[in-house]
Structures are given as structure tokens and as C-alpha cells.
Symmetry: none
């Protein structure tokens, strides 16, 4: 498995340093953030596995950040708090946190709890990206989709730009190969907000992707009339 990415959100620089040292030793990749804003940005821009979250932040909204983080990524969340108040624990867990630890704690325990959370979330995430664990997905006539850079490369290695939206849509299709996905489902997989019937936005985007990957014969992204679209995997 790849090196797990852990985002540590805390405004206590000393603690951050200790955590970073310890966990890096354990073989994790540590990213740090010390306020809400940068935390959310980072959660959005890289694939995280676990988030360590201190709720008391300078620009903090407290627990409200939990659902925001979850919206941006699928990482497990361990709340690390100075308060040992049971009610707060409960609310955090109800909001979707996976674990709650009270400061002060021993690093060994933190590490063990991270592992426990990783075990669960990893199982879930592996299964979502079947065999394509490599972050590069190949398809069609030499195309490579690089899910870390959000870029598409043609067979000569030239990057041919897809927009982020197009990229996400193509990725969603590719991650469910040979499966017809409805417009509604695709909509939910790739963006926020409510899907409205008779919304043609997905169709347009499919058209644009097809044009960019020379798929005018609909061999790669197949239209399943009355249902939606389907990525046709190599045989």
C-alpha cells in the first residue's frame, strides 16, 4: 500500500512538531495545517487517509468543520481535544468523526488509533478504486489519466487538458468500468448540489470529453440510451 497521508490540524506548533516527528518515523506522510482555511484547502487538493483534528483553531468554527472536511475527502477523522467533556465527544462522533482522543495523550496510543482507523477506511477506499491503485489509469488508445495531477496524457506523453470537471466525470466513469451510470448518479459523484431532471449538463460535458479524447465513435464512453453513460474497458 502507498504511504498514508495524514493531515494534522492544530495551532499548537510544539505539538504539531512532536506529532510530525513521531508519525514520520512511523512511515506516514504528514501534512500540517494550523487554521481552518488552510486545512480545508489541503483536504481538497490531496488524497488524505487520516485527519487529526484539534477543534480549537484561531479562525475556528469548532465542530462544524467535520462535515466540511468529509465533503472534501474520504479520510477518517480523529478528533484530538483538550476537553474531556463527554457531550462534546458524543457530538463529534455523531457528526462523523471516527475517534476522539483527549489531550494529553501518549503518542503510542495516537499511532495505534491511527492504524485502527486506517484499517477500516482503507478497506473502503481500496474497494472503490478496484485494481487501479496506481494513481495512473490507462485506457483507450494510449491515454493515461493521472489522478494525482488531474491531468490526461496522450500516448506521446503530451498532456491534453481536461478541465477539472471533465476530469472528475471521466474518472468517475472509469472507476466503474462496464457499468452504465445514470446522469443523476454521475452528477452526484462529481459535484455538489441537487440534480434536476432534464439537466443536460452531463451530456454536454460528455460531449466535450469525447471530443478531447477523439472518441467520436462512442467506443470509449458509450451512451446507454435511456440510462446514461458507460466507460467501456479494454477487453
Amino acid at each position: 500500500m502507498h504511504k498514508a497521508n495524514i493531515l494534522s490540524i492544530d495551532d499548537d506548533a510544539n505539538l504539531q512538531f512532536v506529532v510530525e516527528q513521531y508519525l514520520e518515523e512511523d512511515g506516514y506522510n504528514i501534512i500540517t495545517a494550523n487554521d481552518t482555511k488552510s486545512a480545508l484547502e489541503k483536504a481538497d487538493s490531496m488524497p488524505l487517509d487520516v485527519i487529526l483534528l484539534d477543534l480549537v483553531l484561531p479562525d475556528g468554527e469548532g465542530m462544524a468543520i467535520i462535515p466540511l472536511l468529509q465533503q472534501k475527502c474520504r479520510a477518517g477523522i480523529i478528533v484530538v481535544s483538550g476537553k474531556s467533556d463527554t457531550t462534546e465527544k458524543i457530538i463529534c462522533l455523531e457528526m462523523g468523526a471516527d475517534d476522539y482522543m483527549t489531550k494529553p495523550f501518549e503518542m503510542r496510543e495516537l499511532a495505534a488509533r491511527i492504524k485502527a482507523v486506517l484499517r477500516r477506511t482503507d478497506k473502503a477506499q481500496e474497494a472503490i478504486k478496484p485494481e487501479n491503485q496506481s494513481e495512473k489509469i490507462k485506457f483507450g488508445d494510449g491515454w493515461v489519466l493521472d489522478t494525482t495531477q488531474f491531468q490526461l496524457f496522450d500516448k506521446k506523453g503530451q498532456s491534453s487538458y481536461l478541465t477539472i470537471g471533465e476530469f472528475k466525470l471521466l474518472e468517475a466513469l472509469i472507476l466503474a468500468p462496464n457499468r452504465a451510470l445514470s446522469r443523476e448518479h454521475l452528477f452526484e459523484l462529481t459535484r455538489d448540489g441537487e440534480f434536476e431532471a432534464f439537466d443536460r449538463a452531463i451530456d454536454i460535458q460528455i460531449g466535450r470529453i469525447r471530443k478531447k479524447i477523439n472518441d467520436d465513435k462512442a467506443e470509449i464512453i458509450k451512451t446507454v440510451r435511456g440510462v446514461g453513460y458507460m466507460f467501456v474497458a479494454e477487453t
Copy 2:
């Protein structure tokens, strides 16, 4: 989702009673065990979602029970212990427990942690499925109905197109094999809106399906005069 099954393993009858009362109120299904032997039996005989585990049991082997339980089922394990010793916590978590709580605890916190574990294990368990998700229904002379692609394949693997409406109708018939279904019933199963008496739409569609699957002798989809149509399953 179905009512979650929770196995509570503890030899303290009073505590068991309290836990049982509280969690049943919360809508869980509680199973209790007060020694290692019966715990393992129960883990083997029913589908559990969460296991609450006290490590100090009369016939106890302590933490060694964790892997044994995991072998028997996929439930999440929450260790509930009288000891607050960090090393013990860590070992339990390393062995595969999902959480560790120290007695005494508040029931509200236990309930919240159960929920958190359920969320995680549910995700993981859902994710184990995807491969079997390709649902293919075989019938007749080598036909395969692929419900993920909404397509019909003949014995050579060539897709022979059914429209989505025809597909749904055939699927509805196949899912109730050897049972005559009325036009009205089929109508409701396959589309929105009101069925009107003397509506021949279903007949027409049956005709079209028959033509496409070479069923001119009505051997696969049989007409039941005065009633409707029936899918005849292989003998």
C-alpha cells in the same frame, strides 16, 4: 439499513443489564455472552455488526480473543476495559480492535462510539461487494441479461439491443419466473403513470422482445390467455 446486531461480552451481569437496556432503546439488537466460549459460538452463528468486549472473562484468554472473533465475523470490535493502561490499549488496537474505552464510561459515549464504528464497518462491508455487483441473469438459449449494463447479450457475446423499456419488462418477467403477471402488474413494475384498461402497450413490447430474442414460438415468454405473460424458467 437493517437493525444492527451487537454482541456484548462481559461477565458483569449488572453492567450487561444496563448496556442491554440502553442500547435496545436505541434500536439495536443486543446479544449477550458472559464467557469466551459462548462469545465465540455466537460470533459464529449470527451476523454481527459490532462486538463490545470486556477482556477479563472467567475462562478468558484476554486479548487473544480478538483475532479469534475477527476470524469468525467481520464485526467492528470495541474493547471495554477496567484498565486505563496505555500499553494494553495499544496492543488491543494493534490486534485489530476498532476502539478502546475505559470503565467507567457514560452510556451516551458508548452509543456514539458504536455509531462511529458502524459507519466505518458498513462502508468497508459495502465496499467488499462491488465485484459481485455485475449481475448477470442467464436464460433461454445462451442469453444473458446484464443488469449493470442494461444490455442483453446472445450466446456469442454480441449485444443484441433491447431498449430500456423492453429491458425492464423482460427483467420484471424474469425476476418472477414461472408466474403469470398481469399487464397491469407489469405496467406498474416497469414504468410510472397509470395503467389504463385495454392498454395494449405491454403486448406490443412483448412482441418486440420476442422478436429480438427469437422467441416466436412463445417458449420463453409464454402468453397466459386472459391473464398476462409469464417467463418460463429452464427446467
